[in-house]
């Protein structure tokens, strides 16, 4: 008896798979994630209830979700936009870091009123982020240097640069891994005096602006159309006269700018200073977010909010059960793992044929 399996591309993904995959992905991840939790002799159901419900029960934690969703969504968009052109920006993490550096340099060296200093701080961070996206874009467009490698390398350049700035250029009080606190005139203020919004800084406003901008660029402009065509077939795009150079450089630069804004929001909003721990890997989570949200900007927003919930909930779990916060990474990675597996079933059908060896009749 022979078992033969073969793969066939699906011509189109059935509707039900479109929503079933994300749901099943999360369920599968939570099921498998229960194993390490059980190993730690903790009840997984309590852990998950804490993770997903606790953040919604206090003003502080709900505010935290908005605060954390900000860099996640911005970085998610930073991966999403180049992905539309078929490019992998795996360097959003580094662009976040330089965004923070740009903000810190201005905030701590320029002396001006809030009307001047705050916009200048935001601009410096966003522009440095844009530069961190432009360089890999240019190197790819001009010299064919693989963008996956260059964006990734620039993550670690940015992290080391950040440490250098903090330790040697803008040293804070007594060798702590962060700079002096920014002056009030360079800090993103809280949105309200009391309530949930008092725990949320103005950086959260970057999200609707960025989301609307990315949506308009991608879905309402000729450039967005060209980018989408380029993303599905470079050859077709170039044959119809679209500029490969422009598409690559522009999408990568805007990507860098968005992640840079995430860094600004981290430094000038969440931290009020530049810290070595400016991002706990938001730029890498952003890759999952962009993958989950590949269909459009609203999906990116939803995925970003979901991972913000996991971050805040994971911290709540850690405080209440004493489990390591690494549980956040484990759950994230498992969602990631099953997401990739689910993608397979969306793209292919598996055909299993069983045939019996028939005895040859002589």
């Amino acid at each position: 008896m022979n078992v033969e399996t073969s793969l066939e591309y699906r011509n189109e993904t059935p509707r039900w798979l479109g929503w079933a995959v994300p749901v099943l992905t999360v369920l599968a991840a939570l099921t498998v994630g229960a194993l390490p939790i059980l190993l730690a002799q903790t009840d997984p159901i309590t852990v998950y209830l804490t993770m997903f419900l606790d953040p919604l029960t206090s003003d502080y934690r709900t505010g935290q979700i908005l605060t954390r969703a900000t860099p996640l969504i911005l970085a998610g968009l930073a991966v999403y936009l180049p992905l539309k052109a078929g490019l992998w920006n795996v360097g959003a993490e580094g662009q976040i870091y330089v965004g923070g550096i740009g903000a810190a340099v201005v905030a701590l060296t320029v002396d001006a009123g809030i009307v001047v200093l705050l916009p200048l701080t935001l601009l410096a961070g966003a522009l440095l982020g844009a530069l961190w996206g432009f360089v890999p874009g240019y190197l790819l467009a001009r010299w064919n240097a693989n963008e996956i490698v260059t964006t990734l390398m620039l993550v670690f350049v940015a992290q080391n640069l950040n440490s250098y700035m903090i330790r040697s250029v803008l040293p804070g009080p007594s060798n702590y891994p962060y700079t002096e606190t920014f002056p009030d005139t360079a800090v993103l203020p809280p949105l309200a005096e009391s309530g949930i919004l008092s725990h949320v800084h103005a950086g959260v406003l970057f999200v609707p602006i960025a989301a609307a901008a990315v949506y308009v660029i991608m879905d309402r402009t000729a450039f967005g159309f060209e980018t989408t065509v380029f993303g599905s077939s470079q050859a077709a795009a170039e044959q119809s006269g679209m500029s490969r150079f422009k598409i690559i450089v522009v999408t990568m630069t805007i990507g860098g700018l968005l992640a840079g804004a995430a860094g600004v929001s981290q430094a000038a909003g969440t931290g009020g200073r530049l810290s070595e721990a400016i991002s706990p890997g938001y730029g890498f989570t952003a890759i999952i977010i962009a993958l989950l949200g590949r269909r459009g900007v609203p999906q990116v927003l939803a995925a970003g909010a979901f991972f913000a919930l996991i971050y805040v909930g994971g911290n709540a779990v850690s405080t209440s059960t004493g489990l390591s916060t690494a549980i956040i990474d484990v759950v994230q990675a498992l969602i990631f793992l099953f997401l990739i597996t689910g993608e397979f079933f969306k793209r292919f059908t598996v055909d299993v044929r069983v045939t019996r060896d028939t005895a040859e009749v002589v």
Binding site: S6, L7, E8, P36, L39, A40, W88, V90, L139, R142, W143, N144, A145, N146, I148, V149, T150, L152, M153, L154, F156, V157, Q159, N160, L161, S163, Y164, R167, S168, G281, F284, I287, I288, L291, L323, S324, A326, I327, I328, D329, V330, Q332, A333, L334, F336, L337, I340, T341, E343, F344, R347, F348
Partner: protein, 326 residues
Amino acid sequence: MVVETLASLLGLAVTMGTPLLLAGLGELITQRSGVVNLGIEGIMAVGALVSVMVTLATGSLVVGFIAAVVAGVAISLIHGVLSISLKSDQVISGVMLTLLGTGSATFVGRMYFDGSPRVDTFSNVPIPVLSDVPLVGSAIFSNTAIDYLAFALVPAVWYFLYRSNLGLEIMSVGEDPATADSVGISVSARRYLAVLIGGAFAGAAGAHISLTVAGFWVAASSAGRGWIAFALVIFAQWRPLYILLGAYVFGFIEAMILDGIQEYLTVFADTAAWPVMRTLSDPNFMGMYPYLATIVILTVVGVRARAEESRTAPEALLEPYIREGD
């Protein structure tokens, strides 16, 4: 004094170069088959943890080391299944593996250990005669068995890839999988093998960090070395001998960082060049060098490729293989 400093730096460069060399050689084999594995950092994290757990449980460094290698193979299998069988995007799968490896190693390690457990380290084995060479001899030829093993693996990997049938088949599926398939070479089988070998090497690299460099387990002890090893393969342009060179160059940079090279340069403090020297020798600033060097190499290669159509990366890198007509 200068010679002694240099000698101790060289010794440290070998120690710090070994995990890069091990993981780099493994990634080289993996990429030669057409698969990029960005999960090295995660595999090394698992190897670093498993080696300490097993060494403490069995009392044997060798068993601990082997266990890390086995763990490396096991976790890299996930990347194999995803990127080879399920035709996933290799970048995505690799990033996931790093997240999974570092996350679960930290989670399990913190649960299993109370703090940072100490563990014995491999002792230095001086090579007779060579280690008696003044100054440099004791630094370079008095290292652990793992350092020598990594060194010896360079010609072994070269021979495997360029002279053995299996190695040539691995390279052929990395260059032109369709043709390899048509002459009866199983693309999947060769790629799985290459990914698992890469996992074994990365597991060994993680073990080296725990059992030679550190002597204890702490979360995230690989500290980005997996990414440097990935950079190394591109830096070396997929050639074993250059991996050796690059590993020790990057190891030397790390040695200078750990040794605080800036202190030795303070004799130049009164010269005009000092501000520049101080910046260039700053430990955090130096941390950027391996990555910047890799970007530069990649760009230079791109420039040269335009001029003379040369190519060093495996042709089918990053491309899942799907047989025509399937």
